[in-house]
């Protein structure tokens, strides 16, 4: 009878690896083709002369401008400064947002009210914070940080709140039955059980912070940063510089989402068995 046991549990040790995003040759070929088509159409529009050359420079002119911006270090320092602001703002949002979210879980009345406010602020356009930030804090880095934090903190709050509240009752009962309570229940059960939704909230909050930051850098005139490069480009009417900054912003957004947050999310989902149909 005991010989049958091994067939009882079907273990699929590699199944969680299947869903990982992996670039194979096909994908790379597709991406190259897409980029080539994009640059080709751009070049074609340029050659046709629909817009004056100052308004729409060729891909080559933009590449040269970009190289110049790299050489005089303004692009590099711009990227550095922008990322620094993003990291500081995002970290503060994560820390304070998580803390407030936990207080919301602890005090039900506050949690219910605050979560409605949080939803309202999540849909609030980040750019609408800017005049308030300028008047309250000033034309400086702190003003920019304020906008970034206000735009991203509410999604951290609500994902912490809903993530923890949605931990299945049966886990909590099993945990309490095995002697967990208070802090130990929280640390050993609630947090790990809520982690998949906490990660989703983190990813969303990062993207809100990123949107807000570029707007704030443009309007609260920072002296360094990608938003600053954009607004200087507009003022001096250097379209090649504007396009360079736009491409940089696009690439940073794409890379941080794909290679940090999506990776993290997939890793957690795989570990939690959420990619499986039988969950």
């Amino acid at each position: 009878m005991s010989a049958d046991f091994s067939t009882q549990g079907q273990v699929a040790p590699d199944s969680h690896k299947l869903k990982r995003v992996k670039l194979d040759l096909d994908d790379i070929a597709n991406i190259v083709l897409f980029l080539a088509a994009f640059v080709g159409i751009w070049q074609l529009v340029y050659v046709l002369g629909i817009w004056p050359k100052v308004s729409l420079p060729s891909p080559m002119i933009v590449a040269t401008t970009a190289l110049g911006l790299v050489e005089d270090l303004s692009l590099i320092s711009g990227i550095g400064m922008t990322l620094l602001r993003l990291l500081v703002g995002f970290s503060i949002s994560m820390a304070v947002g998580t803390a407030v979210g936990l207080v919301m879980v602890r005090f039900k009345g506050f949690g219910k009210t605050m979560s409605s406010f949080a939803v309202g602020f999540q849909t609030f356009p980040s750019i609408a914070w800017i005049p308030f930030a300028i008047l309250l804090i000033g034309f400086d880095d702190y003003g920019i940080l304020f906008v970034v934090i206000m735009s991203s903190i509410f999604s951290v709050m609500s994902s912490t709140y809903s993530g923890i509240r949605n931990v299945p009752t049966i886990y909590i009962e099993a945990g309490r039955n095995m002697g967990a309570g208070g802090i130990s229940l929280f640390k050993n059960l609630m947090i790990p059980a809520a982690t998949p939704s906490l990660i989703i909230g983190m990813r969303q909050s990062w993207s809100f912070a990123w949107h807000a930051l570029i707007g704030a850098e443009m309007l609260i005139t920072a002296m360094v940063g990608l938003g600053f490069i954009l607004s200087v480009g507009r003022e001096l009417q250097i379209m090649a510089q504007v396009i360079t900054a736009m491409i940089t912003i696009f690439v940073i957004g794409l890379l941080s989402d794909r290679f940090i947050f999506l990776k993290l999310e997939e890793k957690v989902r795989a570990k939690w068995g959420l990619n499986q149909n039988n969950g």
């Binding site: 049958d4 046991f5 945990g175 002697g179 130990s184």
Partner: protein, 257 residues
């Protein structure tokens, strides 16, 4: 010696704004080392009663005594094995099994030693490092049982733990459960709606009435072990229980096997 006593347990609940009485006064004494099965029509409140014993729900009247002391809260002296879905997906099998030990602050090396023993008992050693989603339903219930046994509870409570299993896996676990009981000498209270299961496992079977439930009868089964599902000598007990249950089932037929 009475290990566990339920004294006049009453439980009401709200349904469509009306108050219904789920449990209408249950008295039950479980002796040390008993394997008591609770059978009854579905919705009769036997699971609710078990949850009250576990301390996960409070009775509206009456009290539960464990070793003559009233219990008021849930705790690791009465570990409950749920029907399904109570394993933690973020932990490997071993860490699931060690969860309660970790909460109790037992050092890692000792935890390892204890969990190894029960992983071995439940034939899980090979799967110690798997995540639970990688396991079949039957293997998951083995993990749940191992996780309960490591706590060495005064009473082991089981809430239809085999209800979701296919018949072959269930029959195998019915035999193993008897061996575990004989080996560990645990006091077990086991809820099931399956009459055959109750006669195979229990040395006592308590038959519940329909809502508001009370215990209609307690049948003692002193029969050699291991008992098998197909044991014909258990048939007369099964027929007795069925005869007791039939009037209790208002609309649904009693599921036998």
């Amino acid at each position: 010696m009475a290990k566990l006593e339920a004294k006049n347990i009453v439980k009401h609940f709200e349904h469509d704004g009306r108050q219904l009485t789920a449990i209408g006064g249950i008295d039950l004494t479980v002796e040390d080392g008993d394997f008591v099965c609770l059978v009854g029509p579905s919705g009769c409140g036997k699971s609710t009663f078990l949850r009250i014993v576990a301390g996960l729900e409070k009775p509206d009247e009456g009290q539960i005594l464990l070793d003559n002391r009233p219990i008021s809260y849930t705790g690791p002296d009465r570990i409950l094995v749920f029907q399904e879905g109570a394993l933690f997906p973020w932990l490997k099998v071993r860490d699931n099994v060690e969860f309660g030990l970790k909460i109790a602050g037992i050092p890692e090396s000792e935890r390892m030693e204890i969990s190894n023993r029960y992983l071995d008992m439940m034939q899980l050693t090979k799967f110690a490092n798997s995540y639970t989603y990688q396991l079949s339903t039957g293997m998951k219930q083995r993990v749940a049982i191992a996780r309960a046994l490591v706590m060495d509870p005064a009473v082991l409570l089981m809430d239809e733990p085999f209800a979701a299993l296919d018949p072959q896996t269930r029959d195998l676990l019915l035999v193993e459960m008897q061996m575990i009981w004989q080996k560990t000498k645990k006091t077990i209270v086991f809820v099931t709606h399956n009459i055959t299961e109750s006669t195979v496992l229990g040395n006592k079977v308590a038959v519940f009435t329909h809502r508001p439930s009370t215990i209609k009868k307690i049948i003692t089964i002193d029969h050699r072990r291991p008992r098998l599902v197909e044991d014909e000598s258990l048939m007369k007990y099964q027929q007795d229980i069925l005869a007791d249950l039939r009037p209790e089932v208002k609309s649904k037929p009693v599921e036998k096997t």
